[in-house]
């Protein structure tokens, strides 16, 4: 096992730590190509001049982008709108409740702490199909009809834990001295919260809200159990899968993709720029 004879010093050793100097970068590029193949496919086929199903390539057209809502009485757009409404409402509720829990968990000591941590962890460790079937069994037992409200109730449930995890990290890195200073300056508890704590937590809360919206928007399994006849975008895709997805679904998915990509790259670039500025100062 000894590598005595090959021992080197300085930068040369750096290369030896990895799997070879060109192998790993080459693999990384291939891995990204693999990860992006279905995305490119979805995007390209949003320009396919297809009639109903969208399986074989039949020529290039902008039509699907221009007439997204003109197919099947706007079924795609209606499903999309439902997904947005559900995502927004569930995100607002989950982010509010989750942020409150995150603050309490970091700032206060109480006996039930480990039980509460378990209660927050379990929804993330339960397969979606179990969460979906459980809620559906519950709604059935209580006699609640399934509609958009039951979807929102379900989505809020599985988003809370993710919000808590995301915001908690931010609260933990927050210096309590800043809030103390606010109190020393005669700020009332609500003034201290809205003027000091909340602005400092905003990046974490925004990240949690985006994650929550993304989880809700893309959820299919839990939705399928609790949606009744209400359509959401993933549900629309699932139902049309048997007869080949119309290109309009690819248009919506591509538009959402581009929007999210711009949003995330913008956030990353501005963060990198800020880090650079801070590094210069320091």
């Amino acid at each position: 096992m000894s590598a005595r004879g090959r021992r080197s010093t300085g930068p040369a050793r750096q290369g030896r730590i990895g799997l070879g100097s060109w192998l790993l970068p080459a693999y990384t590029i291939l891995a990204f190509v693999f990860l992006l193949i279905p995305i490119v496919y979805t995007f390209v086929f949003s320009f396919n001049d297809s009639v109903k199903s969208n399986i074989a390539w039949r020529g290039f057209t902008f039509d699907k982008w221009l007439n997204v809502c003109n197919v099947e009485g706007g079924a795609v757009c209606e499903a999309f709108a439902n997904s947005v409404i559900i995502g927004v409402v569930a995100t607002v509720i989950a982010t509010t409740l989750g942020t409150m829990i995150a603050i309490a968990l970091v700032r206060y000591r109480f006996r039930a702490r480990s039980v509460i941590s378990l209660l927050l962890f379990l929804p993330m460790a339960t397969p979606e199909v179990v969460l979906g079937a459980g809620l559906a069994a519950q709604f059935l037992a209580v006699g609640v009809p399934k509609d958009i409200t039951t979807i929102i109730l379900a989505h809020t449930m599985f988003c809370i834990s993710f919000v808590v995890v995301t915001v908690k990290a931010r609260v933990a890195s927050l210096d309590p001295a800043l809030e103390e200073a606010g109190r020393d300056l005669y700020g009332s508890p609500s003034q201290v919260f809205w003027r000091v704590t909340f602005p400092l937590l905003t990046p974490g809360i925004v990240a949690a809200a985006l994650l929550s919206f993304a989880l809700s928007f893309d959820d299919f399994i839990i939705t399928n159990f609790n949606s009744g006849s209400v359509s959401t975008f993933p549900k629309y895709v699932y139902i049309s899968a048997s007869r080949g997805i119309p290109a309009e679904a690819n248009v919506i998915a591509s538009a959402v993709f581009l929007f999210a990509l711009v949003l995330v790259i913008g956030a990353q670039v501005s963060r990198a720029a800020r880090a650079k500025r801070l590094a210069k100062l320091g």
Binding site: M1, A3, R4, R7, I17, G18, P25, T28, A31, F32, L36, I37, P38, I39, T42, I55, M100, A104, V106, R107, R109, R111, I116, L119, L120, P123, A125, T126, P127, E128, V129, L131, A133, G134, L135, A137, A141, I160, V165, K168, A169, A172, P176, P189, L211, D218, F220, I221, V237, Y238, A241, I245, A249, A253, L261, V264, I265, Q268, V269, A275
Partner: protein, 303 residues
């Protein structure tokens, strides 16, 4: 991202105060919500799994009973699906780990010198999340279907037999599961590797360990929290997934998993007790497996 949080050691809260009415006010609404819409449904599921059909009832009408026979029935009827779920999920987890580790290593260790490149690569890792996972899976189905360019060329080159199919096979389902859960594996691995102190690796090679030994004895143990978090985040959803194995997606009649059976029983056959019993079995098996796994890997404090 929340995925990373699984692998992140919790920062020590500074000077936590004793519990107070404020803490109660902050906790109560959210906790009540989870009790009402997470815990109670699990109890409902358990009670449903013990129901028996109403004597003169229609399809879908049941009454509360202690009908443990439901469990025996679903185990007898669906044991292949149960085994398949865990087998496929395990295979997908292993493939995702093998695929993700070098990728996460490059992003977390090699790309440290270029923060902008590192951030952009992280965006690329989560990029698949920006497209509905159903459409991603359908895209693979079409790319790998019998008439597709890929499969016809492979057949033309005689790399595949003339009768070879991809979609509808267990391989396709495992492929889909692996693809869909790769980001869940890569991100926690990245978080763990990003914090890896390279001086340990240098110390290892100074002590005459060859690169392979350094990797096995230093890199892997130090990235263990990421490995555990990533495998759990892949295995759990993969075991319950029912999209990849669906007939309209990458699966076929012989690849149905527990998720598919639960969906069919609950939403189509209206056999609620069977669906509920299968759900409880799925959840119990996962809890046991995860408990054993976390204990054996020595990372209990992660949870």
């Amino acid at each position: 991202m929340a995925f990373a949080a699984f692998a992140t050691a919790e920062a020590q809260p500074q000077a936590p105060r004793k519990s107070s009415r404020i803490a109660l006010f902050l906790l109560l609404p959210g906790i009540l919500y989870l009790v009402l819409f997470f815990l109670t449904p699990l109890v409902s599921l358990l009670l449903t799994s013990l129901q028996a059909p109403l004597e003169y009832g229609d399809i879908g009408q049941y009454q509360y009973a202690f009908n443990w026979q439901n469990y025996v029935d679903v185990m007898t009827a669906y044991w292949p699906h149960i085994l398949r779920s865990f087998g496929y999920a395990l295979a997908a987890t292993v493939f995702a780990l093998l695929f993700s580790y070098p990728l996460a290593y490059f992003i977390g260790v090699k790309a440290r010198r270029w923060p902008l490149l590192q951030s952009l690569m992280l965006v690329l890792v989560i990029a698949p999340f920006f497209i509905s996972f159903l459409l991603r899976t359908l895209a693979w189905k079409q790319i790998l279907s019998d008439e597709s360019f890929v499969i016809t060329s492979l057949k033309a080159l005689s790399l595949l037999g003339p009768d070879a199919h991809f979609t509808g096979t267990p391989f396709a389902v495992i492929f889909g599961l692996t693809y869909n859960f790769i980001p869940f594996m890569t991100l926690p691995l990245y978080t763990a590797l990003e914090r890896l102190d390279l001086r340990y690796l240098e110390a290892g090679s100074d002590l005459y360990a060859n690169p392979f030994t350094v990797f096995r004895k230093i890199t892997i143990p130090l990235s263990m929290p990421g490995i555990v978090a990533g495998t759990l985040l892949t295995f759990i959803p993969a075991a319950g997934d029912y999209v990849n194995a669906s007939r309209d997606f990458l699966g076929g009649p012989d690849t149905q998993m527990m998720g598919n059976v639960i969906e069919a029983n609950f939403l189509v056959l209206l056999n609620y007790p069977a669906a509920a019993a299968l759900s409880i079995i799925l959840m119990a098996a996962i809890l046991v497996l995860v408990g054993v796994y976390v204990k054996r890997s020595g990372t209990e404090d992660l949870l």
